[in-house]
């Protein structure tokens, strides 16, 4: 709703835009706070926060929000738990840029053009050679239910209405994708390494549709199988069909799902060029912050798991374009 607004997108280009995890920047528990105390990003963020007007910085408490910050940590605008309304964010961005005009002249900041960048992945997976991007969404519970954001209906929806269209994502990095490619000398249908299947199930087949939930403990994996079947080679590429089942249950929550997917493999370069898998099934229960206490199921849920590669850089003549990630 906010980021799709054209004016917000336009104004954001005046900034060095960055997304980062609030709890790692400014933890709310003592142990983690001590751990990051000397980290430059924490010190920078903390110093900025202490310059914010009362009410806009939430301490103690969550630091989730949107913040507009000068290069040396100067306050420009911002708020914890900033609203999801484009008009409010637009107003904050505009005020920030007005203050910036004054600040940059006072301090002699160069104000050079900000390079266009493409959004990346979380830093722990972004540079890994084989990355799976996982999306989760509720499946329809009755005929005609869309489970998607409808601008006509939802543009001005209230905060808790997000459950109508909620989806989330998760990431998993592997050392390489060859574990998902059948051995050329083996039978046509082969099992995917059970350790990998269990790892996928434990770490990303998680009901986080409405919010974070923990990974599954080892003991929760009651069943996790995936087979891969070689198809014909066409123009130097071989198709692969995946089929499987998972059953996860830790006593508080469960997921039972069937898996089906397709891959495209280039034997010459040993590259799993494309990997796409869906897991469709039934979930029950609730866990940590996934906001299912009033919706414990059983209810249908779906996952889409695909190989992710960094998005192509936008093609603009003369543009100073870079990919910025840690």
């Amino acid at each position: 709703m906010v980021w799709s607004d054209a004016r917000v997108q336009q104004l954001s280009r005046e900034f060095v835009t960055v997304a980062d995890e609030a709890y790692m920047l400014y933890p709310e528990d003592e142990w983690n706070l001590k751990r990051v105390a000397d980290a430059p990003q924490h010190r920078f963020f903390k110093a900025y926060g202490e310059r914010m007007p009362e009410g806009d910085w939430h301490h103690p408490g969550t630091k989730q929000g949107l913040y507009m910050i000068g290069p040396d940590g100067e306050y420009l605008e911002g708020r914890f738990a900033a609203s999801g309304l484009p008009d409010d964010i637009t107003a904050r961005l505009e005020r920030a840029l007005e203050r910036w005009q004054t600040l940059r002249k006072e301090k002699g900041y160069a104000n050079k053009a900000v390079p266009r960048v493409v959004s990346s992945a979380p830093p722990e997976v972004a540079d890994r050679p084989f990355v799976l991007r996982v999306h989760s969404r509720d499946l329809p519970r009755h005929e005609g239910q869309q489970c998607r954001f409808d601008p006509a209906r939802d543009q001005q929806a209230g905060w808790m209405d997000f459950t109508r269209w909620a989806w989330n994502e998760n990431w998993l990095a592997l050392d390489d994708g060859r574990a998902l490619v059948p051995d050329a000398d083996g039978p046509q249908q082969q099992p995917v390494d059970p350790r990998l299947v269990r790892r996928i199930a434990q770490q990303v087949l998680i009901d986080n549709v409405r919010g974070q939930a923990g990974t599954w403990p080892e003991t929760a994996v009651k069943h996790a199988t995936l087979t891969m079947e070689r198809g014909p080679v066409t123009k130097g590429r071989a198709t692969i069909v995946y089929r499987g089942e998972v059953e996860l249950d830790d006593g508080q929550r469960s997921i039972r799902a069937e898996l089906y997917g397709e891959g495209l493999y280039e034997p010459k370069v040993r590259d799993l060029e494309r990997f796409e898998l869906v897991a469709l099934g039934t979930r029950t229960g609730a866990h940590t912050f996934n906001q299912r206490n009033d919706d414990r199921g059983p209810a249908p849920i779906g996952f889409a798991i695909v190989r992710w590669r960094p998005e192509p850089l936008p093609k603009e003549p003369g543009a100073n374009v870079e990919r910025r990630q840690r």
């Binding site: 997304a19 920047l25 290069p71 960048v117 979380p122 499946l139 489970c147 869906v278 059983p298």
Partner: protein, 102 residues
Amino acid sequence: MGVDSIRRIDRADRDAARRYRVAMLALTLALAVLAPQQPTTAPHPDADNFREWLTFVQPSTDEEAYRTIGWRNALWPAVQEAQQLGRPILLWTMNGHPLGCT
């Protein structure tokens, strides 16, 4: 108590019981109409429907509009870049990385 009285009481009891059963049936039907619909069984993925479900679960372009902004994924390198450019920073921060699971 006379026999006629007992018969009237018996009839009254049967009438009451019948009215009760009718009322309970009406209530049951009303609840069936008004109660939340039971979730459908999850579909079985296969070659014919897999791509349709893949598209259904994945976010649409509109739902992923946030990615068009161009987000760096860590604050400190962004701060260093901003200092080198002499430009302000727009920080979006959530519990769970905004580019990951939130």
